[in-house]
């Protein structure tokens, strides 16, 4: 089955070019040129990845991102022309999983998209414990005290990566490689922002984390089960 990519971009030339490249790489694509139509399109088309331009008419890309995230865990990759820390962190905090800075090379974009959709392969039955939460890997379920916790696929991946090697400390660079699929050093802000988001969901008290622990000056590790 082909993965479906929803392209949200107001620039018709870029949208068309993206379509050409993505189709060439074996993706199904759909294009909306307006922020307000993005959310209905996500509902109707149930895409595997959303490619979202941050500068959009109608509805700001950040708001679109928040709106999508409020009802769907679909992976979102931002396209941005701005490289300032504030813009990128704002985009990540509003729910984007990853970002690509314009102008990008097609290969790079494809690598980012593939990293987001690759986990659809069948996985062996696996049950993991981290802190006081239990993870059912093939079912994509995280449970605490019998209550399921809703995580986005990326947050789920992050948690599983930590839980699989409970004694190991992961540096941000290693996490970037394992979870985001970057092969060389990239922006560690990605990790910081997503760890915060993950903690806000799985921790009883995000100020005193018990599931995802910070190892000062090194990185993160799983809390003892």
């Amino acid at each position: 089955m082909k993965s479906r990519v929803l392209v949200v971009d107001d620039d018709p030339a870029l949208a068309e070019m993206l379509t050409i490249v993505l189709r060439g790489e074996g993706f199904d694509t759909a294009v909306v040129g307006d922020g307000t139509r993005a959310l209905p399109a996500v509902r109707d088309l149930r895409p595997d990845v959303v490619l979202l331009d941050l500068m959009l008419p109608g509805m700001n890309g950040i708001d679109v991102c928040r709106a999508i995230r409020s009802e769907s865990g679909v992976p979102i990759v931002m396209l941005t022309a701005k490289t300032d820390t504030v813009d990128i962190v704002l985009g990540l905090e509003s729910g984007a999983d990853d970002y690509v800075v314009k102008p990008f090379k097609p290969k790079e974009l494809i690598a980012r998209i593939r990293a987001r959709v690759r986990r659809t392969d069948a996985e062996p039955a696996e049950q993991l414990s981290i802190g006081d939460v239990t993870i059912d890997v093939p079912a994509h379920q995280v449970v605490r005290d019998g209550e399921p916790i809703a995580l986005t696929p990326l947050e789920f991946d992050l948690l599983v990566a930590l839980a699989r090697k409970p004694r190991q400390v992961f540096t941000r660079e290693v996490l970037l490689e394992q979870v985001w699929g970057y092969r060389h050093a990239a922006d560690t802000r990605l990790v910081n922002v997503h760890v915060q988001r993950l903690r806000s969901k799985v921790e009883r008290d995000p100020e005193h984390p018990e599931v995802v622990l910070t190892v000062r000056g090194v990185g993160y590790k799983a809390g003892p089960p």
């Binding site: 070019m17 022309a81 490289t83 102008p103 097609p106």
Partner: protein
């Protein structure tokens, strides 16, 4: 000939006391110099002190002169009056005596008794005298016959001389005058029982039956002296009080003038510090108010101008940033299209294939230029920030060199490194690496295949890296231009490696952000050198660099005769301050690193 003296002196010098004394003298001199400097500073700094001190000095001189004149005048008047009275008294006394002694022979027996009697009478007469007769106050009278033989010394023969009263108090020369038959007066100081009493002596000859007698009246002037010293102390006290009052008045008056001036200075200083809203308060209508008004007007117009310039600047920076951002979307499309073409280049005709290759490489350059443009607009806008860490410069330089090594090997340029380990400094490694990548790539680019030397050194306060090539070098004056944006040396207009023309401009801004220097030197035929000097700690001011900018190898240059004074051109860029965050993709950065060198 002065050898013994010298030896003595040397021995003296060796003595501890002499040495201690010398030290003490030196210390005193140092303290005196310090005090002098301090006084000088106060004198220069405070208008008020200057006015008060000058007023004090001038009025002290005036009061002194005035006091002296007054005192002289008063003393003169008092003595004049006394003298007139005394002369009258003497004349009256002489008349009385002449009457009394008309029949007395001074050389006869019993003359002494006669004289005493006459004097007693004279004294009593003046004491009992009533108003009308001249009175010169208290006096003592002296009557003497003088020496028997005229011309003989006065002192010698008390036996021959018959006197009444203390004749010893009368000075000899006065007696000479009187003996000569004339009226004489003299001021003398007579000491009686250890008390010095200024005295006026009037001497007059008195005719008798025999030869003339000398008649003297001694008027003690102690009353007058008391009056005078009273006057004197009154004058001194009055003068001092007057001086103090004058100083106070001067201080008050200058304060009135100086205070608004000081206020104005403070306000102007604050204004200069960037508080553009500072204004002087305007009170009343006087000169100070006028000063305040015109100052405020000036401040207002400066503020307006600055605002306008700031707006222009912000607008321009905004424009640069917006253009860079707006260009990105179409550039992305073009880039993707080019890559799609390039990916299927094997199916294209040779001309089209080459075209697609050119398209892709030029797009890389375009992207690098855009990234540089954005970076410099960020530096200009002051939004770049320094993330400084204490790092070993060895690693930083090494990474920069490794990033360029491939490029250097392509052009067959050997890189000669002198990188000691353990030269720590507080720097932003990303920025410093970028600067050095730029310098090394530049050197390789212009080194014409000759070796490029990269030297690192550090001292207590600073670290320095010098990148030296032995290529075409810089012509006089060009060292100042290399940091200009988009500047290229004439012959390299047709550039080979294709820098954006912004590399060195960004580098110098990065150096400024650290509070460091980036300087260039070059000479035609001898190559060029770029020196980066950074303070060891952020915020420490730079004064010197651990490495020389101008290389010390002029004799070895190309075998040509050593020039007497090479017309080397250097350019200094002192510290300024501007702030930059990391730009996205590592791949683009690496490509940009290779290309952001400036051509010269």
């Amino acid at each position: 000939m002065t050898r013994p003296d010298d030896r003595l002196w040397t021995r003296l010098e060796r003595m501890p006391i002499t040495r201690r004394m010398k030290r003490t003298v030196a210390q005193i001199r140092a303290v005196a110099v310090e005090v002098g400097v301090l006084v000088d500073a106060i004198w220069r700094r405070s208008l008020q002190v200057r006015v008060v001190v000058s007023t004090l000095a001038l009025s002290a001189a005036v009061v002194l002169v005035l006091g002296l004149v007054l005192q002289t005048q008063i003393a003169g008047r008092i003595l004049q009056g006394k003298e007139v009275d005394a002369l009258g008294q003497a004349e009256a006394g002489a008349a009385v005596l002449e009457r009394e002694l008309a029949g007395v022979d001074p050389d006869g027996e019993g003359a002494q008794g006669e004289l005493n009697k006459a004097l007693d009478r004279l004294t009593n007469a003046s004491l009992s005298d009533d108003a009308g007769s001249p009175s010169a106050g208290e006096f003592r009278a002296v009557l003497t016959t003088g020496p028997r033989e005229p011309g003989r010394g006065v002192d010698g023969s008390g036996a021959d001389e018959v006197s009444a009263g203390t004749v010893a108090d009368v000075p000899a020369d006065l007696r000479g005058h009187v003996a000569g038959g004339s009226l004489a007066r003299r001021y003398v100081t007579i000491s009686a029982q250890g008390v010095e009493i200024p005295t006026l002596i009037i001497g007059q000859p008195v005719r008798t039956a025999g030869r003339d007698l000398e008649f003297y009246l001694l008027f003690p002037l102690d009353a007058e002296q008391r009056t005078l010293s009273l006057v004197q102390s009154t004058l001194i006290v009055g003068g001092l009080v007057l001086l103090l009052l004058l100083a106070g008045i001067a201080s008050l008056v200058t304060r009135q003038v100086v205070r608004p001036v000081r206020q104005a200075a403070e306000i102007a200083e604050r204004f200069a510090d960037g508080h553009l809203d500072e204004r002087m308060p305007v009170h009343g209508n006087d000169e100070v108010a006028r000063l305040a008004e015109s100052y405020n007007e000036m401040a207002g117009s400066i503020q307006a101008q600055i605002r306008q310039l700031e707006e222009f600047g912000a607008l321009q920076r905004r424009f640069t940033s917006d253009v860079s951002h707006e260009l990105r979307t179409p550039l992305t499309t073009v880039r993707m299209a080019a890559d799609v073409l390039h990916a299927s280049k094997d199916q294209l005709l040779p001309a089209l294939r080459r075209s697609s290759e050119l398209l892709v490489t030029e797009l890389d350059r375009f992207e690098a230029l855009l990234a540089d443009l954005l970076e410099i607009s960020r530096l200009d806008a002051g939004v770049a920030d320094l993330t400084a860490d204490r790092v070993d410069m060895h690693g930083v330089v090494n990474r920069a060199v490794e990033a360029v090594r491939g490029f250097a090997e392509e052009s067959g340029t050997p890189l000669r490194l002198q990188l000691p380990v353990g030269v720590y400094a507080e720097v932003d490694p990303r920025r410093v690496e970028r600067i050095l990548r730029n310098l090394v790539a530049n050197a390789v680019d212009h080194g014409e295949g000759r070796p490029v030397d990269i030297t690192l050194a550090g001292d207590e306060h600073a670290v320095a890296v010098v990148v030296r090539d032995h290529g075409v070098g810089l012509r006089p004056g060009e060292a100042a231009l290399v940091f200009n944006r988009f500047w290229r040396a004439e012959e390299s207009r047709a550039r080979r490696s294709g820098g954006s023309g912004l590399g060195l401009s960004i580098s110098i801004e990065d150096a400024r952000l650290h509070g460091g220097w980036l300087q260039a030197w070059g000479e035609p035929g001898r190559g060029s050198a770029f020196r980066l000097t950074l303070p060891r700690a952020v915020g420490e001011p730079l004064t010197t660099s651990p490495l020389p900018l101008v290389p010390d190898d002029r004799a070895a240059s190309e075998g040509s005769a050593p020039e007497p004074a090479p017309a080397s051109s250097t350019s200094d860029a002192a510290a300024g301050s501007v702030p930059t965050p990391v730009h996205g993709l590592a791949a683009v950065r690496a490509a940009a690193a290779m290309q952001t060198q400036d051509d010269r």
